[in-house]
């Protein structure tokens, strides 16, 4: 009997006969924020994977056959992650022919996905060199396959599952907060964004998080003690800062910016348009005009201008309120108007000065 028919024929409250009792967790599942199910018939590999997961903070349950794995999943799932050996047999015990090929892991993965389509699953196939060599039906092609028995690879796969889970858990307010945050930072770096927008910022932040589990140079590790929104905000800020710094260092110009034409349409050497060695002189003018432009936006809004002046002068929130005699309500309203205007939106700009 295949696993898919097995799960359809076995009601959740009625365990299949002749099954072993569930293996005790190595740590209390309830006491840990993260849980994992390891379905692995090789005792050494099971210990190795369990230890790796334990080091990552997971509480673990183990099973040595697909039947036992499915039963544990039904009794204790969902888990943060389920690790399944591609070659795990359907049943454990003396009836197993150790030489016969066992490829039930994919079936178990599909059976679990049928119970919970969002369950994070990794299929381990250490007997293969590449994932492409692992035979599986089309519906299982999206399940990650781990062919390299290394802690780094496992950590990378776990990171993806945890990040995907965190993305699904974000509330509408979280998502919109991230968008506003990224939009503001892109607005702040101006030309240094080089045509990139808030979506690019968000995407790169996510990518750096994904590789952050094992690549400390290019990635940004997500410390699970930090809320996901806060982590992404930190990465976004860091990327925006790098974009700006790279832009300054390279002083990159668009081709259209480099081409110099006189009044008669004659093109001149682009060298004439390259910034001088006295960069601060150039930049001072740009910054000054930008500052004036920002203040000009709030010329008819005394409250916003005051708050803006306070920020420019390096004052903290309470100092700004104190300096300009603003109560909390007026301060927050002014901040809202500044954000709305800088993001070029009409809403929020109708209560000028109030």
């Amino acid at each position: 009997m295949g696993l898919l028919s097995f799960i359809h024929n076995t009601p959740p409250s009625q365990p299949a006969q002749n099954l072993e009792p569930p293996a005790p967790p190595t740590r209390s599942i309830n006491a840990s924020p993260k849980s994992a199910l390891v379905v692995e018939n090789d005792g050494c590999l099971s210990k190795f994977l369990s230890r790796c997961l334990k080091d990552e903070g997971y509480a673990i349950r183990t099973a040595s056959s697909t039947e036992e794995g499915l039963r544990l999943y039904r009794d204790f799932g969902p888990f943060n992650v389920v690790l399944i050996n591609y070659c795990v047999p359907q049943r454990s015990g003396h009836g197993i022919d150790p030489l016969a090929p066992q490829t039930r892991g994919i079936e178990l993965a599909l059976a679990i996905r049928e119970i919970d389509s969002f369950q994070g699953i990794i299929v381990t196939a250490f007997a293969f060199k590449t994932a492409a060599e692992v035979p599986r039906p089309p519906e299982a092609m999206h399940i990650p396959i781990l062919v390299d028995c290394s802690v780094l690879q496992l950590r990378g796969s776990l990171e993806k599952i945890e990040v995907d889970r965190a993305i699904k858990a974000l509330t509408s307010a979280d998502l919109l907060r991230l968008r506003q945050f990224a939009k503001l930072l892109v607005r702040g770096i101006g030309r240094a964004a080089r045509g990139r927008d808030w979506e690019d910022l968000l995407e790169e932040a996510l990518y750096r998080t994904l590789i952050g589990a094992s690549d400390t140079q290019n990635g940004r590790h997500w410390n699970r003690k930090v809320p996901f929104v806060q982590h992404l905000a930190g990465v976004i800020r860091s990327i925006a800062s790098v974009w700006k710094r790279q832009f300054r260092e390279n002083e990159t110009y668009l081709v259209s910016e480099l081409a110099v034409y006189d009044s008669e349409g004659q093109e001149h050497s682009p060298i004439d348009n390259v910034s001088s060695g006295c960069v601060p002189a150039d930049r001072r003018l740009v910054e000054k005009s930008e500052e004036e432009r920002v203040f000009a936006l709030f010329g008819d809004d005394a409250g916003a201008s005051q708050v803006l002046r306070g920020i420019v002068d390096g004052l903290k929130k309470n100092d700004i309120k104190l300096a300009y005699g603003l109560d909390e309500k007026k301060y927050l309203a002014a901040m809202r108007r500044i954000r709305a205007k800088l993001l070029g939106r009409k809403r929020g700009g109708n209560d000028n000065g109030r």
Binding site: A127, F128, K129, T130, A131, A132, E133, M141, P144, Q153, R155, K160, D164, I167, K168, L170, T171, S172, A173, L175, L176, R177, R179, Q180, F181, L184, R187, G190, R196, E199, L202, E203, E204, L206, Y207, L210, I211, D215, N218, V229, Q230, R237, K244, Q246, R284, E287, K288, E290, V294, I311, V312, G314, M335, R336, I338, R339, R345, K346, R347, G348
Partner: protein, 130 residues
């Protein structure tokens, strides 16, 4: 004095924007929902669009890795080099390269044009060959 003034001005906009961005993070949920909606758009749709951006970014790397794997290439998915043009890596076996950019979501490079020339001897699964 001039240098100090330059540095101060240089940080003005970053300071203002940083301050405003921080204020967004500190806003209560109801305030951000009231403020973040674009005129004429649906808040829920806006929020789900952001989720889609994140989900697609998460999927992109996996898709590129799978395409490479299907062509027999082996890469260390945790080591992508980043520069202004995108992300780059090389097949560990044949050395052919691949790169992709987040902006266009397009992958390109020799590794995607031809199967791995050094992976034929791996056709037989390791366990089966024992």
């Amino acid at each position: 004095m001039i240098m100090a003034d330059d540095k101060r001005r240089e940080g003005i906009l970053e300071n203002v924007v940083g301050h405003l961005a921080d204020s967004v993070l500190a806003l209560p949920d109801e305030s951000i929902l009231a403020e973040a909606g674009e005129p004429g758009s649906d808040l829920y749709e806006d929020a789900e669009h952001v989720r889609l951006v994140l989900s697609e970014a998460s999927q992109l790397l996996e898709d590129v890795t799978r395409r490479l794997s299907n062509m027999g290439h082996t890469i260390n998915s945790n080591y992508w080099r980043r520069d202004h043009a995108g992300f780059h890596t090389k097949c560990l076996n044949c050395g052919s390269s691949v790169s992709f950019t987040m902006a266009t979501r397009e992958a390109q490079g020799g590794a995607l044009n031809a199967p791995c020339s050094a992976s034929n001897w791996h056709k037989i699964p390791r366990r089966a060959s024992l």
